[in-house]
């Protein structure tokens, strides 16, 4: 743990370095960058040790305070999420150093760096805290760090609004977490996680209440449907490297929280698994559908996070069903898929947001309909973005395929498990639909942003960004390719993490997941074969063309002689048939005029449910206004009355 805390201290120091020398911005930028890289590298040492099969590392201090000792530990579950945080976080941090340097007119750059470092440090503490008080403290630090990082460009109206929505949502979630740990803690000897685990048997009926509170409280952070309403707003408004961390990493702490609570609560009843699975299906399908409807590049990517959280939940759900119906093989596969998808999504989503950041930097716009043809000006960004796109769609030979493949296998295995879990086989159809829709969505993004003709002057003038932007993204892309080509690098560790969550002994879990791990090697063979065969055909084609003529011409427009960039299919028109199939739930209104076609996407939950609900509440609360006079005596009276009522209640109920 010494290594870990040194790493955290280095991360904090990097934040301090960013604000310490305001007169020497260049120096402070360098020191900030190298300290965060060093911090991440240092903190990774125990992570890799634990994932390689080492013992759990832990430390406890500040004993004798209310709420029990402050325990920090790195078990495989924590180690896995630390890998996610540090891996994607450090790339985003390096990118942010470069990205923020050019944002000076939008906000305070040193402050932006400071809150980002704080956010990273808080994230590492969230997943290592093993008692309630430091966990909630780190959780709150993370929420606030996230808030300040999101509202970097706080002179813009929409950014402030997004920040507000995020702040309200995250605190609603935290409130539920207080309820959760309060309910649970009242049965426990102390508020360490070990104490909570020991008390899980004594919870009785409130066990399900605890689960529901965890699902809602952590769900707001994870952002599954319908608790996702804050997510597209905040992730679109933040600077790109912050979006990368918010979308790739911060929402995963919600998943971490759920997994942690699940391990502490012990074996789940079946209905928890079904709930999580159904939420996952809804989230995945609706998330990708709503993503298709977007024309704002970053908002679109944010909706894909909703989709991917859904895929993770599907894995969790089917894994929980495996535990509930005593099919350990199913449990291990489902959870390993979910856990692996957590890492994979962090990698490719961060990559895509960094790519979007490059586009934004080069053109100044996130509007798909104003882009096009960037492949010529920005070939490196395009290649990296294409890798991320293929990965998020779940295509071989990239990492997204590996984890979706695990989840698919779990769903199929549930089908022939001869238990009630077999109905979850229909989840496979949902996941396939999600894959198809994601393919359509990223074909749209890649095609409209990077291919074809530039739709505006800014798109035509776009030039490649500098190395500082490209190297972090390239590192993430390399990780995506590496996991796709050599899946066994991560299959083993993810099975170990799944073993911890399901309570299956590690050796048994590895034995149960053996077919999948062996198949991982075959996937590598298949991927290599695909690359070789395609390359061979490419070469044959080039060989055939060498003997004949290759001519250049204008695109064939069926005889029309002067095609223009405006005649291309737009993002709206590309997505229109799919959205039409799904009708009202796609949340899209189409505006058709004789010479134009436009679709407008709504944030359904926020605009159609929460905001109207808020209006009703506010109207209703007008009735309460008379009690708010602004007279101090009256307020004192309220105070005395409340305290007296509480005392009377306690007296009647007997001593606590």
């Amino acid at each position: 743990m010494t290594w870990f805390f040194s790493g955290v201290l280095l991360l904090l120091a990097s934040g301090a370095a960013a604000v310490l020398f305001p007169a020497r911005p260049r120096l402070s930028e360098r020191v900030h960058l190298w300290l965060s890289l060093a911090g991440a590298a240092t903190a990774l040492v125990p992570v890799l040790r634990v994932l390689a099969g080492g013992t759990v590392e832990g430390v406890r201090f500040v004993t004798g305070v209310p709420g029990g000792a402050w325990v920090f530990a790195i078990d495989p579950l924590s180690a896995w999420f630390l890998l996610v945080i540090l891996g994607a976080g450090v790339a985003a941090s390096a990118y942010g150093t470069c990205y923020l340097a050019a944002e000076a007119e939008h906000g305070s750059v040193p402050f932006g760096r400071l809150v980002f470092s704080l956010l990273l440090a808080a994230l590492t503490l969230v997943v290592t805290a093993q008692s309630v008080v430091p966990f909630l403290a780190a959780w709150e630090l993370m929420a606030l760090g996230g808030y300040f990082a999101v509202v970097f460009d706080d002179r813009r109206d929409d950014v402030r609004r997004a920040g507000l929505v995020y702040l309200v949502a995250t605190h609603a979630g935290t409130l539920l977490l207080f309820l959760l740990f309060g309910t649970w803690g009242s049965h426990a000897a102390d508020l360490t996680f070990a104490g909570l685990a020991a008390a899980s048997g004594a919870l009785g009926d409130s066990r399900s209440l605890v689960f529901a509170l965890a699902l809602l409280g952590f769900g707001v952070k994870a952002g599954f449907v319908p608790l996702h309403f804050w997510l597209p707003e905040a992730h679109a408004a933040a600077p790109s490297h912050v979006s990368a961390v918010m979308s790739g990493v911060v929402i995963k702490t919600g998943i971490y929280g759920l997994l942690r609570v699940a391990t502490l609560l012990g074996a789940p009843p079946a209905w928890w698994g079904w709930t999580v699975l159904i939420l996952g299906v809804a989230s995945a399908v609706l998330g990708v559908l709503w993503a298709l409807a977007q024309h704002d590049l970053k908002r679109l990517l944010a909706y894909h996070s909703v989709e991917n959280i859904g895929i993770i939940l599907m894995g969790l759900g089917v894994g929980a069903l495996g535990v509930a119906y005593a099919v350990p093989g199913l449990a291990v596969l489902g959870l390993a898929g979910a856990v692996l998808h957590t890492l994979n999504h962090a990698l490719f989503k961060s990559l895509l947001f960094l790519g979007a950041g490059n586009v934004l930097r080069a053109t100044g716009t996130r509007d798909l309909e104003r882009l096009g043809g960037l492949v010529r000006g920005m070939p490196v960004t395009w290649t990296l973005f294409l890798v991320g796109s293929a990965a998020i769609v779940g295509l071989p030979p990239l990492n997204g395929f590996v984890s979706e493949w695990l989840v698919f296998q779990a769903l199929f295995q549930a089908g022939f498990s001869r238990t009630p879990a077999e109905l979850s086989v229909f989840g496979a159809a949902a996941l396939a639909l999600v894959g198809g829709l994601a393919l359509a969505c990223f074909a749209k993004v890649c095609g409209v942003v990077f291919l074809g003709q530039p739709r505006t002057e800014v798109a035509r003038a776009a030039r490649e960004v500098t190395r500082g932007y490209l190297v972090p993204a390239a590192a993430l892309a390399a990780a995506c390719v590496a996991i796709g080509l050599w899946p066994w690098l991560v299959l083993g560790p993810s099975v170990k993490v799944a073993a911890l969550i399901t309570g299956v002994p590690r050796e048994t879990a590895l034995e149960l997941a053996r077919p999948a791990i062996v198949a991982g090697r075959w996937i590598a063979v298949l991927a290599a074969l695909g690359v070789v065969v395609s390359a061979l055909l490419w070469w044959l084609r080039a060989f055939a063309l060498r003997r004949t003529s290759v001519a250049a011409a204008a695109t064939w427009a069926c005889g029309y002689a002067r095609p223009t960039a405006r005649m291309q299919y737009s993002a709206s028109s590309f997505a229109a048939p799919i959205l039409g199939v799904f009708g009202g739930i796609s949340g899209v209104t189409a505006v058709r005029q004789p010479s134009s076609f436009e679709t407008r996407a709504a944030n359904l939950v926020l605009e159609r449910a929460l905001v109207p609900l808020w209006r009703v509440l506010r109207a209703a609360s007008v009735r309460l206004r008379p009690i708010q006079h602004g007279r101090l005596q009256l307020y004192l009276l309220y105070l005395v009355a409340t305290v007296s009522l509480l005392l009377i209640y306690l007296a009647v109920r007997g001593s606590p």
């Binding site: 492949v375 074809g452 077919p515 298949l526 065969v533 395609s534 004949t548 695109t555 427009a557 069926c558």
Partner: protein
Amino acid sequence: MTVAIQVLVLVMVLALAPLFPGVVQRTKSLLTGRRGPPVLQLYADLAKLWRKGAVYSATTSLVFRLAPAIFAGTTLVAACLLPLDGGGAPLRFAGDVVAFAGLLALGRFALVLAALDTGSSFEGMGASREATFGSLVEPGLFLCFAALAIATSSTSLTTMLGRPLAAVWTAAAPALVLVAASLFVLTLAENGRVPVDDPATHLELTMIHEVMVLDHSGPDLALILYAGAVKLTVFGAMLVSLMIPRGGLGLIVSVAVLVAGLTAMAVAVGVVEAVMARLRLIRIPQFLVAASVLATFAIMLLLSA
């Protein structure tokens, strides 16, 4: 040794693949009172295209040139996962069925991007429709796979389409009939056949797959046409393996049954093309959902058994 034979059968089937679109065309022609092109026409077309030069739009980038090779490459590798000789596939592992679908999806992704690369509204239209109907085909395909997985307790195509099916036919024939029907509909849809798409029309506005590859020429177009034929054959081989379990047959008989089955499938596709008109675009989603519903019923039957 067995692997060598399996690879041999694979190569033979890949070599025969361009035959089947010809059979479809001939059937259709005969039924509509025409003679039609020779059955081996596609071979001649491929040879001709391979010798021809290519014309590239100035708008296109590397994506456009790479896509045909990727589409063909992924389709060929996907064929390696099928137990063509009735025994086993050259490549087989737990969960290879997902890899099969993943490879086909990668091929589709490449073609759709290539279409968008041209910056043409026609090809954009084709790409959009291909992506739309592709995303509706996918759940149906996975429901078929799920039914087969339940029936054979396996996630490997070699088992799902192999020996265990014979026992399933005696135990749960209705479910397998439903799966076969669903798979046939998906074969029509995935291969751009009537009633989803019409490979014969030359009116771009009504087409899906054909309009998407409008700008490809020369060897690129040859690769796309050949991969299309292989894809039809791959789907046909799945249907044949499903309908006629060939576990107990010898190698020669087994391969002969496969080729006869593929020809019969091509004739069936031709009959559908001759007797049906193309559906209106807004009806196609319903047609594809119907395929999913059939497979869903099959799963229900299998689960309740």
